[in-house]
């Protein structure tokens, strides 16, 4: 399975579901990281887990002309994160959990720890600013900055043209800079 593309593995999993575990092995960590960055580590495990069970359930819809499935998984993750945040309105300001990062900062090199501590202090302001972005702009920004997807991958994930990705990202960054003064 090592040489097969994601698309080939997904195609194989249609007749033998167990093949899909290769997709899990390849992407669980990165999906978890993206989800945890969006909603914090407390619920990230459940949501990341659900990404793969959902993906497994709808794998017959996967476009096998696309060799890499990461954008597809991130698209599912984004939807689940959005649902989760909607469900948990009381915690909807937890886009970014500063507290847990402060703990992580203790173990980081001094310069990095300082940078994180500084960023953590800004977290409430950043959360508010994110909440003021248009939903589509916010998704693009978070997929780029936290999901570390390329423009093309974001376009695939959100089923929008790459030009729209660029314009949304530029608009989101500009708005964030207005809302979060340095």
């Amino acid at each position: 399975m090592g040489d097969l593309t994601d698309a080939e593995i997904i195609a194989a999993s249609l007749s033998d579901g167990s093949e899909f575990s290769v997709v899990f092995d390849r992407y669980y960590d990165t999906v978890y990281k993206y989800v945890a960055r969006r909603i914090g580590s407390d619920a990230a495990g459940d949501i990341a887990s659900e990404v793969f069970t959902r993906a497994f359930a709808v794998r017959h819809k996967y476009d096998t002309s696309r060799p890499l499935c990461r954008p597809w998984l991130y698209g599912i993750a984004s939807n689940l994160v959005r649902d989760h945040l909607r469900r948990q309105k009381r915690r909807s300001r937890a886009y970014l959990k500063a507290a847990s990062q402060e703990e992580a900062a203790h173990d980081a090199p001094i310069s990095e720890a300082e940078a994180r501590a500084s960023a953590a202090l800004m977290a409430p302001l950043v959360n508010q600013a994110l909440g003021k972005l248009k939903e589509g702009d916010r998704e693009v920004l978070l997929l780029f900055a936290l999901g570390e997807l390329s423009y093309e991958e974001i376009a695939t994930s959100m089923a929008i043209p790459i030009g729209t990705v660029r314009s949304r990202l530029a608009r989101a960054r500009r708005r964030m800079q207005e809302l979060v003064p340095e």
Partner: protein
Amino acid sequence: MIAEAHPVDTLLRGITGEPSPTHADVLGGRRALLRAIATESQRSTRGVSVPSIWWRRATAVLSVAALVVAAVAVAGLLRPQPVTALGDLARVAEQVEAPAISSGEYRYAGSTDVTLEFRAGSELGLDERDTVVYLLPHVRDRWVDEAGSIHEELLTLEPRFFDPDVEAAYYASGVDKADRVGETVVSDFAQESLTVFGVREWPTDTDELLDAMGVYVSSQGNDVDATGPLVELAADLLRWSSATPELRSAVIEALGTLDVEVTERIDVDGLAVAVTFVDVSGIRSRLILEFDEDANLVRERHVWLEDVPALGVPAGTVVLDSQLSPGRVVGSLHRP
């Protein structure tokens, strides 16, 4: 692959850090996926000739999209959301303990409901009619004490009629007295008499619960795979019952495996679950359950989707509409 290091990206990454899953996270995720793989495998090897829980789950996946459209059209109150949200609700249910009550305290819950009442025409002096129907509203207050005993006060309000002749006959024949319209009836029960089918004995493992529910509806003369009766049973298990959080969670999760539509409630937090089926009266119906954000069942509606000329009931009539308030602890037998 990061193409640019824009200050906003740097800020966001700085705040969120580099989270990584624990061993338990990875194991949990892998276990969930393996379970999904096993479920699918089991379903495909059983085949469709044997109606089963697995088959019901398969058909649920296929029919959700179409039925969501129907839900919006019929209920007019719902909008589609992914079925996965029920999983969230089940997890909430697991974490929400019923408020503890100590000696001298009560768990209070109120409800209003409207139910379709059936009577023989002869009872109203309408001998030419086999059956007449009308809608009878109630206001119900219920207190449960520490020992589980129930004190209930039931106020019956003026009925609503579909036919003025029936209305006139109803009062002329004194059936309003029999229905105790305008009266508050006070009753006291031992909890066991109202506990739903020994609710505490229902399994809390979702698969086992589904099997047990199937056995129960089958024992009531329904097809074991009949979704409507299963949803009705789910409501029975959640309504008024002293079900544990684990059971409530399992019931909600079980609902998610049935052939139901799941939608978000309008204007308020929570979810609605709806199913269209032929009810015990043989009438095509729609049953809608609504849950609040704490996974409490807060409303049930049963709508007849077809005209019933023999009873003078038009399509779209809500034959049961029950709204329940989540329980709260009070210090006396007085309405809070």
